[in-house]
């Protein structure tokens, strides 16, 4: 999983089936996608990872929800809210991705949250849909938010992912165009490659800090 779209919404949330999204993803240069509320499978030569999207829940309920459906193959994403919630969620075991930060409060993601995310290996998602589909102030706000995240990323080096948030095959963008869109927020090719490989990295088993040789 080197090139992954970290969030797509297949039918019935969107207007494209998971097979069609996988087929399109292959054409556009991806090798895996995270499909919300869809079982994991391998289709059209693309690995489809099951995604769980948690929204509008207090931190306690998020923890319970993760405990209930504990499956290491499911990619758990939580929609960002206020600062306290984000700190709690980033430090929670089982949460893989924190997303939708531009839609949250202005101070929802700060240096403390960034540090917690880096320590816990929680990825921060950069959703490209606001840059693609929004115009004017809404897009400016999203770009500003991402610039702020990248500033903190350079300091704390937490993992990050890129998603299209596609509800249709028309919302997906080729990897080359993703690289171009990411250059708008100051990401170079290396950063983009890291972000596209982010899902594979957070799902990989963590190496222990101390290795026992014999």
């Amino acid at each position: 999983m080197k090139i992954t779209d970290a969030c797509v919404y297949p039918y019935p949330r969107g207007n494209s089936s998971v097979h069609r999204l996988a087929l399109e993803a292959r054409t556009l240069g991806y090798d895996s996608i995270v499909a919300v509320d869809t079982p994991s499978c391998e289709t059209e030569g693309v690995t489809v990872l099951s995604g769980l999207m948690i929204a509008d829940m207090p931190a306690k309920e998020v923890a319970n929800r993760i405990k209930r459906g504990k499956d290491p193959k499911i990619v758990v994403s939580v929609l960002a809210r206020d600062n306290g919630f984000n700190r709690a969620v980033c430090g929670m075991k089982g949460v893989h991705i924190l997303r939708d930060i531009p839609c949250a409060d202005k101070y929802a993601f700060d240096h403390v949250t960034a540090k917690i995310a880096a320590d816990n290996g929680t990825a921060i998602d950069l959703d490209l849909s606001p840059i693609i589909s929004r115009r004017g102030h809404a897009r400016e706000k999203a770009i500003h938010s991402y610039l702020d995240i990248l500033l903190l990323r350079n300091r704390f080096e937490f993992p990050f992912t890129i998603s299209s948030g596609a509800r249709s095959v028309l919302d997906m963008r080729p990897v080359r165009e993703v690289s171009g869109l990411c250059s708008l927020i100051g990401m170079d090719v290396q950063d983009t490659e890291d972000a596209l490989a982010g899902v594979g990295r957070i799902l990989a088993p963590k190496e222990t800090a101390v290795k026992v040789i014999s």
Partner: protein
């Protein structure tokens, strides 16, 4: 303004883009307005003035677009922010960039036209003709209607509007819902 000799003209670059979804009737003028709006909102008037975007032609489901040499990157990024043309949802997939229109026209010939004939894409890229055949005869499982282009998906009857290899685009039958669903042959076999 009089026409300048070739050595004094500005250098241009031409981009070939595929219009998705297939079969969408897109006017050159509407596409130009969509491109201009996307580029202006992203880069601003100054950069767009230097970029000089233009729609040269729309042929066989492809668009030939023009910009000034050196601004291809900005132009390509602004094309990726296009989500619609008039009230229709579209996406432009950039295929190639060239210094001449002829090269892009040759490329279109190689790729084959990306237009529909009787609901089937006539593109040379479409390799799986057997699948197309079965879809056109309406043999997809669970066909509830006598119309050969009907199929069922998620207990609803849809009409197939586009078939390209494994890709199948359908629209729900009836006048209320005219939104496209993007499926594959596997989806129609499963349901």
């Amino acid at each position: 303004m009089s026409v300048r000799p070739p050595t004094l003209r500005e250098k241009r670059r031409y981009l070939l883009a595929k219009i998705e979804p297939c079969g969408m009737p897109v006017e050159g003028k509407d596409l130009y307005y969509a491109i201009h709006e996307a580029a202006t909102s992203l880069w601003g008037d100054v950069v767009v003035a230097a970029m000089q975007p233009a729609v040269i032609a729309i042929e066989d489901g492809y668009a030939i677009l023009r910009c000034r040499r050196g601004t291809e990157r900005e132009f390509a990024i602004s094309l990726s922010t296009i989500t619609g043309c008039r009230d229709t949802r579209i996406a432009l997939r950039i295929i190639a960039a060239s210094g001449t229109i002829d090269t892009l026209r040759d490329r279109i010939k190689d790729l084959g036209p990306y237009v529909m004939k009787n609901g089937k894409v006539t593109s040379a890229e479409t390799g799986d003709s057997s699948k197309n055949q079965s879809m056109e005869t309406g043999d997809s499982s669970g066909s509830a209607s006598t119309d050969p282009r009907d199929c069922t998906f998620d207990t609803r009857v849809y009409q197939i509007v586009h078939c390209d290899g494994h890709k199948v685009d359908v629209i729900e039958k009836g006048f209320k819902n005219t939104h496209r669903l993007f499926l594959t042959t596997a989806d129609l076999e499963e349901k």
